[in-house]
Amino acid sequence: MLVQILFYAFATVLMGSALGVILSRNPVHSALYLVLAFFTSAALWLLIEAEFLAIVLVLVYVGAVMVLFLFVVMMLDINVEEVRKGFTRHAWLGWLTVLALVAEIVGVVAVKQLGIDVTKAAVPVAADHSNTAELGKVLYTTYVYPFELAAVVLLVAIVAAIVLTMRKRQGLKLQDVGAQVATRREDRVRLVKMQAERRE
């Protein structure tokens, strides 16, 4: 009963924040609504005992992706009017997508109603059962080979990103830390001996 109440509470907040993402006029508000949506969906995942996914969602999406997203939104000067220009003209495309999505949702629900066991329900596990430990075990035994190689894929991404973007531009203003540290008083301040001037 409590779980159901919690589910509906979180689901309501999720729907509300999802609407907020698309309805708010300020892009920063949209991004913040999206953060809220991620938090509430993480809570929903906790309810179905997928605690690892819930934590990862908060850490990766809220902690890393959305912060980056907010940076971009705040740094770019987005002309909202320009973005909204084609809205009504392309609305039919949106409606088409909505129709397809609704049809798919109905399809999924209808299949459940037909009684065909497409997906078997998970076997309930004890309260002290740790999803994270299980994932870790599988990841470092059965899937150790693809796991390590996925790490190499990330290494490729890092190397490629650096090599393709880092460049020594002419006339770039850079700090030379060594020169800053090695500087002496004589380089910065010049003491000049001069006669005291008499006030007129």
Binding site: T141, T142, Y143, V144, Y145, P146, E148, L149, A150, V152, V153, L155, V156, A157, V159, A160, I162, V163, L164, R167
Partner: protein
């Protein structure tokens, strides 16, 4: 939980070694390579030779071992392809050393990206699961995208890289979708599992999933109609990168096609051989016909690659061990010859003279007789003129086609290779019978010339004794 020991992972030594080598090379470049990039180049070559040794140490000839819960297959085919990949990449790096130095591209990261691409190839040669196929393809393609864009000042290269990247990403998506369909139908990612799951009658879902997979494989091969990226990449990328894209990834594509289609879905070969035969005929047709119209040598080689891919696919169309063997033979021979051809472009090029237009080869026989002779040998071999090795490769493919009764396909293959011979021989004509004009004379570069000579000699030698490599191919595919 069973006891684990390092000896258990010995068959995977080539990959483990290469990952170590990648990290070592990154560190070496930071500490010793920044001032003198040629050092990193030499170390990279040594590491590659070490990789070939590691492959030989870990090889267990005549046995098939399965590691990492079925995700890694170590057999003779994997050993042969890994040895060939290490060797071919080493030759490619050797050919491109001077070019990279001249174009100021000789940074440590170049070699690191080449190594990661090679790692992708190695992973694909021993892929035992759809997951590994995907990760291998991503490793290989991501490294190649970055390499194509490596020369940042060059707008054409950036355009080529962008096209390659966008189309490649779409192909990866298509591949994943096909894999997800197959997984949904069979409930397993392992190729051995797929083989048992799909031994019954064909379902519509299987054909759908298979179609997506075949499209993705065709894209990686560069077969018509999924070839759009090939000419732009061959022409736009730095020559050393074109050399790389043209050579070793073909081995990987063969490995993917073999592991995925022949081993994993061999039971349902009736469905995919039809798809492949359409791709093969289109590739032969468009590749050869469009190549005739090219004035840029690298673009011509791109279309030639497309037509040669058609031949490799024809080997798979047979759906028999005989055909796979012919395809393996053709792939190895083709990669070897194409390495030499691009090596010749690199040898002919110099500061301010890229030597990638066909007109740049006018009268090469009087300007640089030995280079002209080597190019002629390589062109004769690609054209498939006896006694060069390319002839035997084409012959084996056509033979295996006729054996299973694909008469029409073999006729198309023969007609198309006759048409193809025209534009290969045109290069020879230009080199020997056109006046040189005021084009520059050849440069000595003896080491490069020597290795290129060996490469051309191999094209002739393997042609005179075709059974040597053919027997190897036969043995690794267990038909002894």
């Amino acid at each position: 939980m069973t006891e684990t020991s390092f000896a258990q992972f010995l068959p995977a030594l080539p990959e483990i070694y290469l990952v170590g080598a990648i990290c070592a090379l990154l560190m070496f470049d930071v500490f010793f390579g920044l001032k003198k990039p040629t050092r990193t180049a030499s170390v990279a070559l040594l590491l590659l030779l070490g990789g070939a040794v590691a492959t030989l140490i870990s090889a267990d000839f005549g046995h098939r071992q399965v590691l990492f819960s079925g995700m890694y297959i170590a057999d003779d085919l994997a050993t042969l392809l890994k040895l060939a990949s290490f060797l071919f990449v080493a030759i490619a790096l050797f050919y491109s050393g001077e070019f990279l130095g001249r174009r100021k591209l000789q940074q440590g990261e170049y070699y690191v990206l080449v190594f990661t691409a090679l790692l992708g190839v190695l992973v694909l040669t021993s892929a035992g699961s759809l997951l590994m196929v995907y990760i291998g393809v991503e490793l290989l393609s991501l490294s190649l995208y970055a390499l194509v864009a490596f020369d940042r000042e060059n707008g054409v290269a950036a355009e080529a890289a962008m096209k390659y990247f966008v189309l490649g990403a779409i192909a990866s998506g298509i591949m994943l979708y096909g894999m997800s369909l197959l997984y949904g139908l069979s409930g397993t990612l392992s190729l051995a599992g797929l083989a048992t799951a799909f031994s019954g009658p064909n379902s519509l879902g299987l054909i759908l999933g298979l179609a997506f997979l075949v499209v993705a494989v065709a894209f990686k091969f560069g077969a018509v109609p999924f070839h759009m990226w090939v000419p732009d990449v061959y022409q736009g990328a730095p020559t050393s990168v074109s050399l790389l894209v043209a050579s070793v990834p073909k081995i990987a594509s063969f490995a993917v096609a073999y592991r995925l289609l022949a081993e994993g879905l061999g039971e349902v070969s009736g469905t995919w051989t039809q798809m492949l035969s359409v791709l093969a005929v289109l590739s032969l047709l468009f590749g050869n016909l469009i190549a005739i119209a090219q004035t840029n040598l690298r673009r011509m080689l791109a279309y030639s690659a497309i037509s040669n891919v058609g031949f490799i696919l024809l080997g798979f169309v047979t759906g028999t061990g005989d055909g796979y063997e012919a395809a393996l033979y053709f792939t190895l021979v083709y990669v070897m010859v194409v390495l030499g051809t691009f090596g010749a472009i690199l040898l002919a090029s110099r500061e301010g003279f890229e030597a990638d237009e066909i007109a740049d080869y006018k009268g090469l026989s009087s300007r640089d007789p030995s280079l002209a002779f080597m190019v002629a040998v390589l062109m004769f071999s690609t054209a498939g003129i006896p006694p060069f090795v390319g002839f035997w490769a084409k012959l084996r493919i056509i033979e295996s086609l006729v054996n299973v009764g694909h008469l029409w396909l073999s006729i198309i293959a023969v007609v198309m290779s006759v048409i193809g011979a025209f534009y290969y021989l045109r290069i020879v004509w230009v080199m020997y019978f056109d006046p040189p004009g005021d084009l520059p004379r050849g440069q000595p570069r003896l080491a490069l010339r020597f290795v290129l000579g060996l490469n051309a000699a191999a094209a002739l030698g393997l042609g005179l004794f075709p059974d040597v490599l053919l027997n190897v191919c036969q043995t690794v595919l267990h038909r002894g």
